[in-house]
């Protein structure tokens, strides 16, 4: 599996540096390097990563942050009918400093962008971003002077959830995809142990993965009856 490597050292930036900060490079799974070492600790590292990631992915605390319509559907996912607690993410935090991930639920406005950046910076590592809805993904139907055409113009996005707005189920699916990708991550196990880079797995595209199944559909239900 291919990985994207980001190093903390790169984040100390000059004034003219653009967000998202830090160099990204495409690398192989760092654990694969183990076979070239004289003492093989690969299995141990794999188990450690796997255990830490398991803990992380099942207690993701979301930041209570919403911009527009999508936030209503995101909130719906938190309430009883959809019950996000099933996936360990019900602990909404009102402060970015206590949150693990941020959902950009809604339109990213030019006036709001510096605020979003500030809030993202205030979150502590490890942190992730879900871009929820067409506006956050690409500007969507708002190709208009006041709207940033996709939050990935300045934030590193981990999962994109399509829809305008996406259903709560789609958001929950996005959350599970984030969990899957967290399971594959290689983050420093400690600040004194090993490589300090952050390795994020490049996950397969859902569009390609489900295409074969989706094109099987040949008949759509008519909307004439409920």
């Amino acid at each position: 599996m291919a990985y994207t490597l980001t190093r903390a050292d790169d984040v100390i930036a000059a004034d003219n540096a653009r967000y998202p900060l830090g160099e990204r490079q495409r690398v192989e799974d760092p654990l694969d390097q183990q076979v070239h070492r004289s003492v093989f600790t690969g299995k141990l590292e794999e188990v450690l990563h796997s255990a830490v990631n398991w803990g992380r992915k099942n207690s993701l605390w979301p930041y209570n942050f919403g911009l527009s319509c999508c936030y209503v559907e995101m909130t719906t996912a938190f309430t009883a009918p959809h019950d996000i607690a099933r996936f360990g993410s019900e602990v909404i935090r009102a402060s970015p400093r206590q949150a693990d991930f941020m959902v950009i639920a809604g339109t990213c406005f030019i006036k709001m962008a510096p605020v979003i950046q500030q809030l993202y910076d205030q979150m502590l590592e490890p942190k992730w971003v879900i871009s929820m809805g067409s506006c956050a993904n690409s500007g969507g139907m708002y190709d208009i002077y006041s709207v940033v055409q996709g939050v990935d113009k300045f934030l590193p996005v981990d999962v994109y959830v399509p829809g305008c707005p996406p259903r709560p189920e789609a958001f929950l699916q996005g959350l599970q995809l984030l969990q899957d990708s967290i399971q594959e991550e290689r983050r420093p196990l400690s600040w004194v142990v090993g490589d300090q880079g952050v390795y994020r797995a490049e996950m397969p595209s859902q569009r390609e993965k489900s295409r074969a199944q989706r094109i099987q559909t040949t008949e759509l239900r008519t909307p004439d009856s409920i």
Binding site: A13, A14, D15, N16, A17, R18, Y19, L21, N64, F65, G66, L67, S68, C69, Y71, V72, E73, T75, T76, T79, A80, P81, A94, T107, F109, I110, K111, M112, A113, P114, V115, Q117, Q118, L119, G139, M141, Y142, D143, I144, Y145, S146, V147, V148, Q149, K153, F154, C164, P165, R167, P223, D224, S225, I226
Partner: protein, 593 residues
């Protein structure tokens, strides 16, 4: 006058308007030029010099025009069809509403491009403050005598006035957005609040004030809304709401989407209101097109709009109580919302933004079995509402937190342009569904719930009662849904009825033109106000005889509601502000558009 009107009597009727007669007696016959439109109220062009005097006459007359309903402008430089109207590059319009007369009047002032200056009317109508700032921000018209004329929707660092015709509309016409470390620091510095710029003192003899920045992201601010509080201890000395973090350029968007393809954008203005937002727009377009819709289409529209009113009020109820510290109501009310969405989804095929109304009708007929589904929801709700009332509104903590908190009188509400449940909570019986029935509301039997104290508690209670009345209306729709077509048989119905289109070549051609270019509407102006979920929402459309609107003005209820906050909160405490914010029921898209 060469402006197209369907009835030649429109101008004559307006002539007989007692307000116009009174104005003529007071200011003479040549003081104004009357414009014939489909707006449904007298539209008078007046000289800039006479404006303030005329407005104060209207404000002071017996049964006065108490409310400045709307104030905005129009860049007329590219408008082709304006024969008979005074020369104007930029037109500023003032729309007044008289609750006592149940009438409106619109005054327009023509401005030359070289002389974009107006007198401010803030001393006459306090809510002109934000509207004038918006006109300055969007068109660059300077208002003399305005207390603080700064940008309101765009960032302070923005260059240009977006609603001018020579300003680019698309983000993709600008350089791609980038944010640098330096730019971030600059923008953050520009957002810093400067009390002196607002004429605020940093302390008094006894203490130093604290300035608390609440928002633009705060759990109880309901979206991207910022309010800066000047505090003496826990007491709010003054506060400054700061908006514009949710400006999606919906008005500019109207100038490039066809009359038909603009419908989905209206859904997203008050995003909890769903198809309720389509209604004023569609009704205004139908006035321009001269379409009379079928009874079935009208009843379907009313039914779906009322269903969305319930869904929106449920969201209000959950979040309002959550802001007061009650965690569980939101779980209950969202379960009910899910039930309403099941009905909405079965009928329209979408949850939040169905964009389901069409010019001349609705998108589709009701599916088989809709009545069973709808009846299930209508039967489910009353016991839930009863439970909410018992568990929450009768809860002593909720009562302590909301009774006599952030109260205002009917007179204050009208001065600030407050409409909808927030106005009715003060005891003012003004509901457009009763006062000016549209879309067949006159055929329904329902009551208008009123409050008495105009406090945060009444605003909550009125909405619970409104849900009951909406259920009554929906029940009548289920019982008496008229048979017939769901679309009007009119050449401008977009898209035309499908069965006809498949049989009839002329209709097929019309269909092709309507979906490729869009329907063409005759040059004129029209407006429709409706009683939306949060107050009076109106679309004021100017057609220049094109496939697109020349100017789309959206008057939303939440904009004046937020503007009123400082007037209500001065002297209050911080937790009261949170209760007030919860009780206003606003969404930022309905404020910034």
């Amino acid at each position: 006058m060469n402006v197209a009107t369907p009835h030649d009597t429109t101008a004559n009727e307006a002539q007989a308007d007692p307000v116009v007669v009174a104005l003529m007696q007071r200011f003479g016959e040549h003081a104004f030029v009357e414009q014939a439109t489909l707006i449904g109220m007298p539209v008078l062009w007046v000289a800039r010099e006479a404006l303030v005097e005329m407005l104060s006459f209207l404000r002071g007359m017996p049964e006065p025009f108490e409310m400045l309903f709307d104030l905005s402008a129009n860049d007329e430089r590219l408008r082709g069809n304006r024969q008979g109207l005074p020369d104007s590059d930029f037109t500023v319009f003032y729309q007044l509403l008289s609750v006592s007369r149940n009438r409106d009047i619109m005054l327009k002032v023509a401005l030359a491009e070289s002389d974009l200056e107006m007198p401010s009317i803030v001393s006459l109508y306090p809510n002109a403050n934000w509207y004038e700032r918006e006109v300055w921000d969007m068109f660059g018209v300077v208002f003399h005598g305005h207390p603080h004329l700064t940008r309101i929707l765009m960032p302070p660092t923005w260059i240009g006035h977006p609603l001018r015709k020579d300003h680019s509309a698309r983000a993709t016409e600008f350089d791609p957005y980038t944010l640098t470390v330096e730019g971030q620091d600059k923008e953050q510095a520009a957002l810093k609040f400067d009390p002196e710029a607002w004429g605020m003192r940093r302390g008094n003899e006894n203490s130093e004030f604290m300035f608390l920045n609440l928002g633009p992201n705060h759990p109880s601010a309901h979206g991207a809304f910022r309010i800066v509080l000047q505090l003496e201890g826990e007491e709010i000395v003054d506060c400054v709401p700061d908006i514009g973090y949710h400006h999606r350029g919906a008005e500019k968007m109207g100038e490039r989407q066809s009359w038909h393809s603009y419908i989905p954008y209206t859904d997203r203005v008050d995003y909890t209101g769903g198809v309720m937002n389509n209604l004023p727009y569609i009704l205004a377009v139908e006035k321009l097109a001269g379409i009379t819709v079928t009874d079935r289409a009208r009843t379907i529209r009313v039914m779906m709009a009322e269903l969305f009113r319930i869904s929106s009020h449920l969201l209000f109820l959950g979040t309002y109580l959550q802001d007061l510290g009650a965690m569980s109501p939101v779980f209950y009310s969202f379960s009910d919302r899910q039930k309403s969405y099941e009905v909405i989804e079965a009928i329209t095929g979408f949850r939040m933004h169905p964009a389901w109304f069409r010019i001349g009708g609705v998108a589709q007929d009701l599916p088989k079995g809709w009545d069973r589904l709808m009846q299930g929801f209508v039967d489910w709700m009353p016991k839930r509402l009863h439970e909410y009332e018992r568990a929450m509104m009768e809860n002593s903590i909720v009562r302590e937190r909301t009774r006599n908190v952030a109260a205002y009188s009917t007179q204050e509400a009208l001065e600030w342009g407050v409409t909808g449940p927030n106005l009715r909570a003060t005891g003012c019986n003004y509901d457009l569904r009763k006062k000016r029935p549209y879309s067949g509301y006159e055929n329904f039997d329902f009551e208008v719930p009123l409050g008495g104290n105009g406090d945060a508690f009444d605003r909550g209670q009125v909405r619970i009662e409104e849900m009951r009345q909406s259920l009554r209306i929906i029940q009548q729709c289920i019982d008496h849904m008229p048979a017939g077509d769901y679309k009007a048989d009119h050449p401008l119905t977009t898209p035309p009825p499908r069965d006809k289109m498949l049989q009839h070549i002329e209709t097929l051609i019309t269909h092709f033109l309507q979906v490729s270019w869009g329907p063409v509407l005759k040059p004129n102006e029209s407006q429709q106000m409706i009683e939306a979920t949060k107050g009076i929402n109106s679309y004021y459309l100017t057609s220049d005889g094109n496939t697109m609107s020349y100017r789309t003005r959206i008057r939303t209820p939440s904009f004046p509601h937020l503007q009123q906050i400082p007037a209500v909160m001065r002297g209050g405490f911080v937790p009261d502000l949170i209760a007030h914010l919860g009780s206003i029921d606003f969404v930022m898209a309905d404020v910034d558009r």
